[in-house]
């Protein structure tokens, strides 16, 4: 099993969710996060004082998937979330040892 984590632009979240649902992904964990990469932040002005605001709002999606689906899902997220402009985000995949469904106690593939 793999954990796919994607950090994307907030306005792309709805498109990505629909695409993943179409692929057959049945659940995910989503958080509102902030951070920065090459995009850096933006400037805000209060009573003439300019502030560099380093952190930009992003959406983080976490999905646990079967090994064979991981590449397809990464490809789908990249295709859907891409605008081609700086700040589109990142997707990464990491290995998972065990998954348990709390309600039933099912483990691993049965728990996804």
């Amino acid at each position: 099993m793999k954990l796919v984590t994607a950090v994307i632009k907030p306005h792309k979240w709805e498109d990505v969710r629909e695409a993943l649902e179409g692929f057959g992904v049945t659940g995910m964990t989503v958080s509102e996060v902030s951070g920065y990469g090459r995009q850096k932040g933006h400037t805000e002005v209060y009573r003439g004082a300019e502030y560099d605001i380093a952190l930009v709002p992003k959406i983080r999606i976490e999905i646990v998937v079967d090994d064979e689906d991981a590449d397809d899902i990464v490809g789908l997220i990249v295709k859907t979330a891409q605008t081609g402009r700086i700040g589109d985000g990142k997707v990464w995949v990491s290995g998972i040892e065990t998954v348990v469904r709390v309600r039933t106690g099912d483990r691993d593939a049965a728990a996804i």
Binding site: E44, V45, Y46, R47, G48, E50, Y51, D52, I53
Partner: protein, 447 residues
């Protein structure tokens, strides 16, 4: 004092007093929204504490120091003459004493609200970093040594008024006990705004900058609060200015309309500067423009034409929008721009009367004398406030101390000075204790 009760006037003055009282909670929101989330309660408490402390002091010796019949050198009224309002409320026949048809006790209420907001105004200069107990002691001493004396000097028959022993009479002569060129401070440009603005500057310099000032972003945490506060201030200010006409009449109407028009023009003035200088007109700029316009029109509300008020508002809005940048150049942390808005705006209003007053102004062909008088009273008010503030604040620095610990400032003053957090966005916080700090509830006990 022989005149009959004027019910219309009395009703309007009671209403005005209530309106002015609302300005201080309004100011708490205006200021509170501008600080960071970790110190909003302290900022609002510095305003609300004035509601508690200054009111009590006003009844005890504030009214007497501001309006006693016997004064000291034209500088302040005798605090003991009407201490605790003894001899203030009733006439010899035991009826409520009247002055110009208004019960004096109504005027006590109206004037108390001015003292409250003036103290609260200062708080904006020293946000996030000051011991609450030191602030309370300062408030009590400052209202006594700076506000009451200036109220007496300007309105109570002292040397900044139109009496024959005042500065104006000394400059250009007097006739029948009144200065030929009477100074104008309709509702408190000197007493309230220049006074608070100078105190703010002195304290900001003396107390020092916040940790990270000029380096870290210190963004307003809630701009809707700022706009709500500005709206409440504007609403209350109609009592402040139109109430200062001491009449339910046309002069009050003129002051009301000028309070509307100057403020409206100041919004535009501030936003124009922002559009040109920064690229975007901001909500904080609109709210700030409101206050700048209100401050500038305060001394002038009854003595301008509504078109003159528009000119004044445009000047106040645009000049204050530029003046708020001075603190970065000179490195004093006037956190919420009490100097840039209240001192600068108060000076603009007080001095602009020399040009724009429909009776006495230079632009109305009445020469330069009023301008000289206005500059003189503004300068005297500044000097008095600066000295009074220093005399109080320097010893406090050496004894109680002004600053909270640096780690408390970084963590947020709300927690260290008040033991509270303004916003609870997390469901998981900890466990509840009993009513008495330190005693943990046993199971089954509690609410």
């Amino acid at each position: 004092m022989e005149d009959a009760l004027d019910p219309g006037l009395t009703a309007w003055m009671l209403t005005s007093a209530s309106l002015v009282l609302l300005m201080t909670p309004g100011l708490a929101f205006f200021y509170g929204g501008m600080v960071r989330a970790k110190s909003v309660l302290n900022m609002m408490m510095m305003c609300f504490s004035a509601l508690g402390l200054v009111t009590v002091i006003y009844v005890l010796w504030g009214w007497s120091m501001s309006y006693a019949d016997s004064g000291v050198l034209g500088l302040f009224g005798n605090p003991f003459e009407q201490f605790g309002l003894q001899g203030t409320m009733y006439d010899d026949a035991g009826e409520f004493a009247l002055d110009g048809g208004l019960p004096v006790i109504v005027d006590v209420g109206f004037q108390a609200t001015f003292a409250i907001i003036t103290v609260a105004l200062i708080a904006g200069a020293i946000a996030d970093r000051v011991r609450f107990s030191t602030w309370l002691v300062f408030s009590a001493l400052w209202v006594t040594l700076s506000f009451f004396p200036l109220a007496y000097m300007v309105w109570g028959g002292g040397i900044l008024g139109d009496g024959e022993s005042g500065i104006a009479a000394w400059l250009f002569g007097a006739e029948d006990g009144e200065a030929l060129v009477a100074p104008i401070d309709f509702a408190g440009g000197t007493v309230v705004h220049i006074n608070a603005g100078v105190a703010a500057l002195v304290l900001a310099v003396l107390i020092g900058v916040r940790k990270g000032f000029g380096r870290e972003p210190m963004r307003p945490h809630n701009l809707p609060f700022v706009m709500l506060g500005a709206g409440l201030l504007w609403f209350g200010w109609f009592g402040f200015n139109a109430g200062s006409a001491y009449g339910a009449n046309g002069e009050a109407g003129l002051a009301w309309v000028n309070t509307l028009t100057a403020t409206a023009a100041a919004i535009l003035g501030w936003l124009i500067v922002e559009k040109i200088r920064d690229g975007e007109p901001t909500s904080l700029g609109a709210a700030s423009g409101i206050v700048a316009g209100l401050v500038a029109v305060t001394p002038a509300a009854g003595d301008l034409s509504p078109v003159g008020a528009i000119v004044l508002g445009l000047i106040a809005g645009s000049v204050c929008a530029m003046a708020v940048g001075l603190k970065y150049r000179f490195n004093y942390d006037d956190s919420l721009d009490v100097v840039g808005v209240h001192l600068v705006g108060g000076l603009i209003g007080t001095v602009a009367l020399g040009f724009l007053a429909t009776s006495g102004g230079l632009f109305y062909g009445d020469g330069i004398k009023l301008l000289v008088v206005q500059i003189a009273i503004a300068a005297f008010a500044m000097a008095w406030s600066a000295v009074a503030t220093l005399v109080i604040a320097v010893p406090l620095k050496a004894t109680m101390g002004w600053r909270i610990a640096e780690e408390d400032e970084v963590a947020g003053i709300d927690l260290s000075e008040h033991g509270e957090s303004a916003y609870d966005f997390v469901a998981v916080a900890g466990s509840r204790r009993s009513h008495f700090t330190g005693t943990t509830l046993t199971e089954g006990e509690g609410a």
